[in-house]
Symmetry: C2
Subunit: 377 residues, 2 copies
């Protein structure tokens, strides 16, 4: 690695070889299943990353904020699903993007917002393409596939100013499972709920051309996708320790890590102090409730080889405390001298990446590039 | 409030009236105790905020990254303490800042780094002003005040190229207490450890002019500060729910909140879905281990009045789930209709603020301003 970059720790290192393998793996699965892949770019918020997903065959992107929609549209992405329920007060911002040429799809799960969208569309002479959010696992938003509310929301959208472009669901509850059997079950449930909702809408006279489902764990667990038109997934592009605990990736497939430098020790406690704290790792402790708790992250050497047993046991804003999770090391100072550079695999790639203005992309030829990412709303 | 800004949720709202009261309160305390206040600007990373601290009487700033040192130096702050152990590979960046006129103080707690600083200084014809980090509570970094290591580090710094400019300590363990008695005890311990270390250094022939201590809980708990020259504190400028649980502020003194909008409901669960998730709040769950767990934050109305019992019980990347922490509400839809704007008080202001490119500053006259903040290293 370019030693000039190693000086600037902490840094968000993207191993591009690993990332490309993750992109290819997911794309091939979706190709085999006969559906489109619409990556969720909230994970990377980076045009460089999303372009590689497109080149591999992805169609369109999913975003979680209008800022993401704006940034990716300006970078040339036209087909964009804004997968968070629209706030009526944001409709003017959405319409402004559409008027510039963005094929922006909105979502909602309630009559009040649906009426507001229709009214705003009618007032401004635009017919919004709105997908109805369906709840297939009870974990967050959405209408029940069997509910009357599904048809009420569709009716509210069918007034001039808006139309039902599809249904979408996200089985976020899949993050709570860690066996192939349970994952296959929640994956099938996600697909069944969405296709059921689409079927009911069509029987009631709403066209509903699109059926969009997905999460990284379910995307890697579907057996068949009859009736589904597209799958959304985000974190698969990097993977992380949460995904490893769920069982959908190995540690060696995790493409994002935090490059850090040893700044001190507390030898009698077996502690190594590094210059990556929670500002560099994020406060995400997603593995705390899983079968293996990695603290704030898994320690690897500078080349990315996992140092089994060593994790970040504590974090302050700009200090991380590394230790052997088993028994305290007696020779921590000689093992990790001042200035030693390490990589830390994160619990949650979306949260860790969000702490950085750019990625240090480690290219296949060993050179590094800076890839911009953005933040804010 | 300006309705134009309310559309752009989530936003990091700073109530400037509250913030100024927090600034004045801390400054008056330090004035009474007869010490300088060197605010830790890692909390705000905003020149607008730091300028208000300076105008109230603060002298110099504390930073946690060289990026902060650069940004604040460029904004006119000259007296800067970089309060994280220096990595030898960052010395060139530090020296470059010093050569531009920055009065930058470094810290270390080990012989290896002290030798590297001295060698680098000698090589480049500069005499680094280095403060030795002292451990007064066992929570992280630092040498023991009574240890031989203290004098060994000082000796390593006294070679040409560096000198001992002072000692510094941070009793981060104060975050673990919540009674005035315990806080007064850890505050006294912090001051005693630092002055003891300074005394030993002076007896050994090292001048050690500065004795720097502090954390927000201890800063608000010192009884006297004989022998201390300056106090550092950061989060007091905004305060947060963690500080409220510790007992050093009321909820009404918390100056930072997240402005958010209701986007949906799950009425049978008593859930309100808002457009502020963990990206807007941070993943910090600092109140989880305290006497009152506020989930991801305390819900307030649009004007900042606390809605007792309502907290953010769950958070995904761009979705927050609000609920009555007691019994689920039966009338959540009518209480919080779609489009309702709320404020959420954060667990940890430093972590929440870090998620934003700017603050929405609510000025004393009711108008709003955008105040830039920066991130990265």
């Amino acid at each position: 690695m370019n030693s000039q970059f190693i000086q600037d720790t902490p840094a968000a290192l993207v191993d591009v070889v690993r990332m490309q393998a993750n992109i290819d793996r997911m794309q091939q699965r979706m190709n085999q299943l006969g559906v489109r892949l619409r990556p969720h770019v909230k994970t990377s918020k980076s045009v460089e990353v999303a372009l590689r997903q497109s080149r591999a065959g992805a169609q369109g992107v999913t975003v979680s904020t209008l800022k993401e929609a704006q940034e990716f549209f300006e970078a040339g992405f036209r087909d964009i699903l804004y997968a968070v329920g629209i706030v009526p007060s944001k409709l003017d911002r959405a319409l402004s993007l559409i008027r510039k040429g963005c094929d922006l799809k909105l979502i909602t799960d309630n009559v009040a917002a649906a009426q507001a969208i229709s009214a705003f569309g009618q007032e401004h002479g635009h017919d919004f393409n709105v997908w109805i959010e369906v709840d297939t696992d009870g974990h967050r938003s959405g209408v029940q596939p069997e509910s009357d509310l599904l048809l009420e929301v569709a009716s509210a959208l069918s007034a001039p100013g808006a139309h039902v472009g599809g249904v979408m669901t996200h089985a976020g509850a899949s993050y709570g499972f860690d066996t192939p059997q349970d994952l296959a079950k929640i994956a099938a449930q996600e697909a069944a709920g969405a296709t059921k909702a689409a079927q009911r809408l069509r029987e009631a006279g709403f066209p509903c051309p699109e059926v969009s489902i997905g999460s990284t764990p379910t995307a890697l667990s579907y057996q068949q996708l009859q009736g589904v038109t597209e799958v959304r997934a985000g974190v698969y592009v990097f993977f992380d320790l949460v995904m490893h605990n769920i069982g959908v990736c190995t540690k060696e497939e995790i493409a994002l890590s935090v490059l850090t430098t040893v700044i001190g020790h507390q030898p009698e406690k077996g502690w190594v102090i590094v210059d990556a704290g929670w500002m560099a790792m994020s406060r995400d402790r997603g593995t705390a409730q899983q079968k293996h708790d990695y603290g704030y992250g898994q320690v690897c050497d500078q080349d990315g080889n996992v140092l089994e047993g060593y994790i970040m046991v504590g974090a302050n804003q700009e200090h991380g405390i590394l230790a052997n999770a088993g028994s305290p090391d007696q020779d921590i100072v000689s093992k990790f001298p001042i200035g030693t550079v390490l990589r830390i695999l994160p619990n949650h790639a979306c949260a860790t990446a969000a702490q950085y203005p750019d990625y240090l992309a480690l290219m296949p030829d060993g050179t590094t590039e800076k890839w911009q990412r953005f933040y804010g709303w």
